[in-house]
């Protein structure tokens, strides 16, 4: 085998930019895994999740966060979840011990964090969702400029935006353009 080591490249090269007090940045240190609940496997999955992360399985459209804040579990539908991890995905996937079907989704998504006073005005230009109804620590799925997006609210002016990694450039352009357009 050749003595070559592949170096990973963030989809947006680790983008970070300040627009006044508003910050847009690519999050590169998080992993994502999807967790699907086996048929009739609620109890087993609940037990494993409780053991691994110490949280109750959230209801669809809601989110559960571990006490240390390092893991968020997003319930996307009654039997599927997306876990956002601050650690590599391997231990979590193993830690569920087969109670859920897991798939490493880290490379499927690009993650942007948008925070600051222009956060909501900028999103008004591309996000059809009423963000007034999206409370902190909850998420929803929508489309922005034709791209599927998961939007997770972390605070009044702080969101995490997940979109497909292959169109990361277009997604960044959409968000950047929105900020530029609303910047005083």
């Amino acid at each position: 085998m050749d003595d070559i080591t592949l170096q990973p490249e963030p989809f947006l090269g680790g983008y970070a930019c300040a627009f006044g007090d508003t910050i847009l940045s690519e999050i590169t240190d998080m992993a994502l895994i999807s967790v699907a609940m086996p048929l009739n496997g609620m109890d087993k999955l609940q037990a494993s999740v409780q053991t691994l992360w110490g949280v109750v399985l959230p209801a669809p459209g809601t989110c559960a966060t571990t006490l240390d804040g390092k893991t968020r579990l997003l319930c996307q539908s009654p039997d599927s979840f997306l876990a956002l991890l601050s650690d590599p995905p391997g231990p979590a996937m193993e830690g569920l011990k087969g109670a859920g079907y897991t798939t490493d989704q880290s490379d499927n998504w690009v993650i942007l964090r948008l925070s600051g006073p222009l956060c909501l005005p900028a999103l008004e230009r591309i996000c059809p969702i009423d963000l007034n109804t999206l409370s902190t620590d909850n998420f929803t799925r929508t489309t922005m400029e034709h791209l599927g997006v998961i939007i997770l609210r972390q605070g009044p002016d702080d969101v995490m935006l997940l979109s497909a990694s292959s169109s990361a450039g277009s997604f960044l352009h959409a968000v950047e353009t929105s900020i530029t357009n609303v910047k005083p």
Partner: protein, 980 residues
């Protein structure tokens, strides 16, 4: 030019001067002016020419209903035609040019058409230019095109930026006049989320144009205080310069916000934003539009609506004329007289069509009750009006009031029909309003101030309560209702001169009569025959008077005559705003393959495949065209090894105890017993039995598969499988998720592919250990997790290796580096396509939604031992005919001939017609391996006709080529290379 008509008062900022030009003539105005008010202030009455007859035209209104004062604003690429001077906010440096004339505005050469007006009546175009036929395209059309149209485009790319956006609220209030403001205050104070939008740049509507009082102060002051209070509420959004132009389903409204139109320079910000507003409820407070009275030569510059005259006097501090006459059928005209008198403007006469006592006394003004204006004089501007008794009254401005029509337009956007109210001689909204909408104030026929305020407050209270809010207990505001008596009067029948109804389209009373005489008696027919109510103003001032005349002619009432349907937009929306930011490279999202950067750096030419950009070929120095590059890539791959990024193929991760059974249902062929570590080709059918998609699926574990789909069908297949999982077989334990973006996948093909792959992965890839159709989870370059598949689309010994996407760019470089000793070559989609045709693989051209497994030669893939989606209908007799088309290969008898994709096959000597059609060529390529053109295609009983020569005919694209039917597998038909 000095501002000779500027008078005292108004809401303009006289401390600042704004310079602008009209037809190159420098003029001055003030902040708060519109272009129209500034033109009038500078004594410019003639502002354009009419569309058809090129008649001199002036400013007629003070709002968005303006039919006359359309100008080209700005210059160069920023030039915009058909801009209403009455709504264009003045800014320093504004340049405006008048429209629709040849030569100077004052001496329009096209005015000669006015002399021909007796011959250019309604339907002229439909009845003339019929003969001779030879003139249609060479003479008539160019001449008509040269004369037609309003304004001209710059024909340059629009340099402005536009954007779109989404807003949400409990209550949308459309219009910020007194009713809208009072409704917004009521709703806002209750805590409801409110958006109040108004097309004007100053909030307040008619309050800014009138002298009425609210709470013992000027109405305009109250409007300003109300706006300040609303702006201070976190739950209220005040949107001036915003027209709500359409009411759509489910409480969705379209609105256009003009963000920088009032500035000389947009400073890189969007000029306009097109908003989609989601409102739980809405209150339409759009006010009313004054309408004219038709009489002879009523289109001269200086003839204006009476309400507009008040606006110019009260809001802008401009006297539209030095000597003003008033012609009215209602009390409103008298308010104009009062306001003019208060400003010291000379009033030569008040002519009221009603036979009654004058409602008020205006000092020094002559009053003619029961009077009529039958004609006007003044070539380029009004000088006098002629009364029915022949008396001429001097006037350079005639203020006309025919009453007010509620702006019901948005109530009709979902087919709502307005209803007639005799007491105000106007249509008001009917009962079938858009869901969630109610109407208040003048838009609802409540035309007086105090009643309008109360209506706004009451309607808002009703809505907020319905939404669960507690209405505020703020005391009702104090205001007086103004006199509003009216006697319907539409047309001075005694006029012998042309009487205009639709000033924008030059439609006269005579045209209406002619349309009726010629049988165009439905309102919709009338509109289309005469062009009444078309173009930028959509007949806002013309429709009702025209309807009244139509009703009169036909002996019906106005409600019996009906109205045309109002459709969005209420006022024009620029195409640029509709496009928003979706222009050029921003038109749609682009998907990049993980090795895109490497490909860019290595000379790739890219091709769009759906949203993906894929490397099409990699040109090298000395190559004269794409064919050289593609031929080289194919030849070098077949000679040694080539590498291609195939990430775009759909990848679906499938897990579950019943995953194998599920796949057995999805695919036509068996997957239940596919061993772990193996890959299998699979075919899917649509429910109707037609072939749908194909690909490979690898079994990574007992309950774990990864499927590949075609690039084009990646989403469709996933969606269809999710439907099957949830709806067809909910009892199966299976889950799936897309991993298309998650894995960068590369085809490594060619006789040296094994040697190259062995340098990359840590597992044994010998033919014994890793045979054709094997798969494994491994690592690439020591540490990177990888998946390896022994599959081939090229017909060569080949592998596909996948690594997590963020390693993809590095992986491509590393593969090329490792393959250097084998002269590894990157290849693009063109070479990929050439090799798949040489190998005889079906792709999108063959899986085109019309072909069956039998047609494709894949009948054997439809298992007889199990069921699958589409199986039953695939067994219909018609789909299993012996003479069905079959996928075969074709090569030219004369190898120097090029085949043409899309050519149809006929027996040699037969005529090229549908009756003799036997099939078509679906894919062709030049084969660098074989040295001639080859093709795949479908022909009846093709599999039984090997060696037969037929004609491939393409009459439209190059005639006939004699072709021999062959196996579709031109290259290595036994498959020894890919299995070796």
């Amino acid at each position: 030019m000095t501002q000779s008509n500027r008078i005292k008062g108004g809401l303009i900022d006289r401390s600042q001067q704004l310079g602008f030009t009209f037809n190159g003539k420098p003029m001055q105005g003030h902040p708060g002016d519109t272009l129209a008010s500034a033109l009038l202030a500078n004594g410019q009455r003639l502002v354009g020419r009419s569309f058809k007859y090129h008649r001199p035209r002036g400013i007629f209104t003070a709002g968005s209903e303006e039919p006359n004062a359309l100008v080209q604003l700005r210059t160069g690429a920023h030039q915009e035609p058909n801009t209403r001077a009455t709504t264009s906010e003045l800014f320093d440096g504004l340049t405006a040019i008048s429209q629709n004339h040849r030569g100077p505005l004052e001496f329009d050469l096209m005015a000669v058409t006015g002399l021909l007006s007796p011959f250019l009546s309604a339907g002229f175009y439909y009845k003339t230019f019929m003969w001779p036929k030879a003139f249609w395209e060479k003479i008539y059309e160019p001449v008509i095109r040269m004369s037609a149209g309003l304004g001209s485009l710059s024909k340059l790319d629009d340099p402005d930026i536009y954007d779109k956006g989404f807003l949400h609220c409990d209550i949308l209030i459309i219009g910020a006049g007194p009713t809208g403001l009072e409704a917004a205050l009521t709703a806002g104070r209750s805590g409801a989320r409110v958006i109040i939008a108004d097309e004007d740049f100053v909030i307040g509507g008619r309050l800014n144009a009138e002298t009425c009082e609210i709470a013992d102060g000027p109405g305009a002051d109250w409007a300003r205080h109300a706006t300040t209070e609303l702006a201070s509420m976190d739950n209220v959004r005040v949107m001036p310069r915003t027209t709500v132009y359409g009411a759509y389903d489910h409480g969705v409204y379209g609105a256009l916000e003009r963000c920088t139109d009032h500035l000389g320079d947009s400073s890189g910000k969007p000029r306009q934003v097109l908003w989609r507003i989601y409102a739980k409820r809405s209150i339409l407070c759009a006010g009313a539009t004054e309408r004219p009275i038709a009489f002879g030569n009523n289109d001269r510059p200086g003839v204006m609506l009476a309400g507009a005259v008040r606006t110019y006097v009260n809001r802008f501090g401009v006297a539209p004329g030095r000597t003003v006459a008033i012609f009215t059928n209602n009390d409103d005209g008298w308010r104009t007289a009062s306001d003019l008198a208060a400003k010291g403007v000379d009033i030569s006469a008040i002519i009221d069509s009603r036979n009654q006592d004058a409602p008020t006394q205006i000092a020094d003004a002559r009053v003619v009750m029961g009077g009529r204006v039958v004609d006007t004089s003044g070539r380029k501007g009004l000088t006098s009006v002629t009364l029915a008794n022949g008396e001429k009254v001097t006037a350079d401005c005639l203020a006309v009031s025919g009453g007010w029509s509620p702006n019901v337009h948005l109530t009709c956007h979902q087919r709502g029909r307005p209803i007639w109210r005799d007491d105000i001689a106007a249509f008001v909204p009917g009962a079938d309003l858009p869901d969630g909408m109610i109407v208040a104030g003048a838009a609802n026929g409540t035309l007086t101030l105090a009643a309008g305020l109360a209506d706004g407050r009451d309607k808002a209270t009703e809505l907020v309560k319905g939404l669960g809010f507690t209405a505020s207990k703020t005391p009702a505001i104090v205001a007086q209702d103004e006199p509003a008596d009216l006697s319907a009067f539409w047309h001075v029948a005694a006029s012998r001169k042309p009487a205009w109804l639709d000033l924008q389209n030059d439609v006269t009373v005579k045209d209406i009569k002619q349309a009726h005489a010629e049988g165009f008696r439905s309102v919709e027919h009338l509109k289309r025959y005469t062009t009444l109510g078309m173009a930028t103003d959509q007949g806002k001032t013309a429709n009702i008077p025209a309807l009244a005349i139509m009703a009169d002619i036909s002996g019906k009432t106005i409600p019996e005559t009906g109205t045309t349907i109002f459709r969005p937009p209420y006022t024009p929306v620029p195409i640029g705003a509709l496009a928003g930011r979706a222009r050029g490279s921003g038109f749609r999202p682009v998907r990049h393959t993980p090795s895109h950067k490497w490909a860019e750096a290595n000379g790739a030419t890219f091709v769009e495949t759906g949203n993906w950009l894929r490397a099409q070929w990699y040109a090298r120095d000395g190559e004269k065209g794409w064919r050289d590059s593609v031929d080289r890539e194919v030849t070098m791959t077949r000679a040694s090894v080539g590498i291609c990024d195939v990430t775009t193929l759909g990848k679906i991760d499938i897990q579950g105890r019943d995953a194998a059974e599920f796949l057995n249902h999805i695919y036509t062929n068996a997957f239940l017993k596919l061993p772990v570590g193996k890959v299998r080709y699979g075919l899917m059918l649509r429910e109707d039995g037609v072939a749908y998609d194909d690909g490979t699926t690898a079994r990574l574990g007992e309950n774990h598969f990864v499927m590949t789909t075609t690039t084009a069908n990646a989403v469709l297949v996933f969606r269809r499988m999710e439907f099957a999982r949830q709806c067809l077989w909910p009892g199966l334990d299976v889950h799936m998720i897309s991993v298309t973006d998650g894995w960068a996948q590369f085809a490594v093909a060619g006789p040296n592919a094994r040697k190259l792959i062995q340098k990359v992965v840590d597992c044994d890839v010998s033919n014994d250990a890793f045979p054709f159709m094997a798969c494994a989870q491994t690592t690439a370059f020591n540490t990177t997790p990888a998946r390896l598949f022994r599959i081939s689309f090229s017909g060569e010994l080949a592998y596909e290796i996948a690594v997590p996407a963020r390693y993809g760019n590095a992986m491509m470089g590393a593969l090329m580096q490792a393959g250097k000793e084998f002269d590894a070559v990157p290849y693009g989609t063109e070479a990929l396509g050439v090799m798949r045709i040489e190998k005889g693989h079906a792709a999108g051209n063959e899986l085109n939604g019309q072909t069956t497994a039998t047609n494709l030669g894949l009948g054997g893939f439809v298992s007889a031992k199990k069921d699958c989606i589409g199986k039953v209908l695939s067994q219909r007799p018609e789909m299993m005919r012996d003479d069905a088309i079959r996928l075969v290969g074709f090569k030219p008898v004369d190898h120097s001939k090029q085949l043409i994709a899309g050519a149809h096959f006929i027996t040699r000597g037969d005529a090229a017609n549908m009756a003799n059609d036997q099939g078509w060529m679906s894919s062709v390529t030049y084969s660098p391996t074989l040295g001639h053109s080859i093709g795949l295609g479908f022909i009846k009983r093709g599999h039984e006709r090997m060696g037969e020569v037929v004609t491939a005919t393409s009459p439209a694209r190059g005639g006939d080529v004699q072709v021999e039917i062959t196996s579709p597998h031109f290259y290595d038909p036994e498959g020894g290379r890919q299995r070796g």
